[in-house]
């Protein structure tokens, strides 16, 4: 069960802009969610008022602006739901539920934090950085993309004081190669107190192995197809590392400690 009664209703779109060739940021006026939300939580948005596509689409909170009463999501257009969302216009009445899930745990020693992001996995890190930085932590963000078109957020994160190191296989980033190679190199050079990772399954799996080897506690933000996002359907599972049963990503996660998750699982 979610910790807090989530808001379920309408929020007005105050901005919906393309920030990279396939990446958009949607900002919604929804004081209820902005007030309650924590970094790492998500919102579940209906892409259509009709029955197709039927299910809501989950997105991490990419901005939480309590003062303005707004939240944002940073999303990549990958299919018909995100395509429809990219058509939302100013003033659009957006049907959403949130905040949902458990966010990042920020009460552990975190003076020197490490973010590892793969592709759209960058989305939840800005609000997390805001909180950690307010607490005088230093943050290094390793950010892997396939190509320059996939880059987003870099200047925003740098502006608030995050050290961003980009990795890409096409050579567009600081580091030429996979973000997990960059991670291995970084862990050899520097000690961190807490790690946070978000990105594709394989990347998270490799990140877990590297961080555990380096004795770095790691939280991972996971994804799954979701039918409800509320713990009703039990459909959004990932196996626990106990080898016995399952986490439900929408309520137990999306953020879990890496050591609790069995990444050997496939969809």
């Amino acid at each position: 069960m979610v910790e807090h009664r989530p808001y379920c209703g309408i929020a007005e779109a105050v901005e919906n802009v393309k920030v990279a060739p396939k990446i958009w940021r949607l900002t919604l006026y929804t004081p209820e969610i902005a007030t309650a939300a924590k970094p790492g939580q998500f919102v579940n948005i209906r892409a259509s008022s009709q029955h197709d596509p039927l299910l809501r689409r989950p997105f991490s909170l990419n901005r939480i602006d309590r003062a303005k009463g707004t939240i944002s999501v940073l999303y990549r257009v990958v299919g018909r739901g995100t395509e429809l969302i990219s058509l939302f216009r100013l003033g659009e009445k957006v049907d959403l539920i949130g905040p949902l899930g458990k966010g990042f745990a920020t009460s552990h020693p975190r003076q020197n934090s490490l973010f590892v992001a793969g592709g759209m996995g960058i989305a939840p890190f800005f609000p997390l950085a805001e909180i950690l930085l307010a607490d005088k932590a230093t943050i290094t963000c390793l950010y892997g993309v396939r190509c320059a078109d996939d880059l987003a957020e870099v200047s925003h994160l740098e502006t608030i004081g995050v050290k961003v190191v980009t990795a890409s296989e096409d050579g567009c980033g600081h580091y030429h190669g996979q973000v997990t190679d960059l991670l291995a190199a970084t862990l050899r050079q520097e000690d961190f107190s807490l790690g946070f990772a978000c990105g594709p399954h394989a990347m998270l799996s490799a990140t877990k192995d590297l961080c555990l080897a380096a004795k770095l506690p790691l939280q991972v933000s996971l994804e799954s197809i979701m039918a409800c996002g509320l713990g009703l359907c039990l459909g959004c599972t990932c196996p626990k590392s106990n080898g016995e049963d399952y986490w439900h990503i929408c309520t137990d996660g999306p953020v879990l400690w890496a050591e609790e998750v069995d990444f050997a699982w496939k969809r």
Binding site: M1, V2, R5, P6, C8, R46, H51, D52, P53, L54, L55, R56, D95, I97, I225, M226, A227, C228, L230, G231, L232, C233, L234, G235, C236, T237, P239, E244, D245, Y246, W265, K266, R267
Partner: protein
Amino acid sequence: MEKINPLATSLAGLSLSSPLVTASGTCGYARELSQFFDLGMLGAIVVKGITLAPRTGNPGTRLIETPAGLINSIGLENPGVEKFISGEMPFLRQQHAPVIVNISGNTEEEYAALAARLDKVAGVSALEVNISCPNVKTGGMAFGACTIAASRVTTLVRQHSQLPLIVKLSPNVTDIAAIARAVEDAGADAISLINTLLGMAIDIETRRPILRGTFGGLSGPAIKPVALRMVYQVFRAVKIPVIGMGGISTWQDAAEFILAGATAVGIGTASMVNPLAIPTIHQGLQAYATRQGVRNIAELRGMAHQ
């Protein structure tokens, strides 16, 4: 003077404050939905399917979105009957709605054992015998696919329980009316239908079925026309009340099921998409009853047959 409630109805000896019930497996054990609305407006809480032993459910992908539908392959994940009684019943007993426990067995004996175990549990108002789950290897739907097996399970559960007995039918059959008559004859007090339609999807890149178990259960608006037809057919075939479900997402849908003959209607997939679906339908049905000039919604039951 108390305001009369145009949605109050009764079913198999239970008084329901409305015809709206949760569809099993789409609202867990009601805790989550209780955050969104007062469960008192529910005619009954039908909980997620319970088995004798705990089940972790199916591995791999469990959900596939389809046009206006959803395929699920949860595999009856549940804590088992003992933990259900100790862990969930205390909360459920505090809600102002009868609790109907949905039970599933791999064998006839398991159904019997579940029925016996739940018989005297405080707060359990009725059993819904699921002979229609497409997502478990043994048992499940096999019991719902032929009149003899359906009737045997019903008889057995009847022998082991004093509770009102609702049998939940599978739609994946040639003659739903025959199965309904068989379970009525075997002692069922009510029938619920439909469970999910058997469906599948294939990943065209890996070329493999998306679900590890190949097939899953199709629910949601896509199946409404089939569900409504079966409720209509079963209403003509039996005398016991029918709980209709399958794709209901608006009050208009609920009204169609009542006109087709449903005494109560289950809301499943719609609550997952919109946790406020039930209160919205509740309000719409109330207004509809008034507009239709009936004092109670039950007056509209089965009217489409006239």
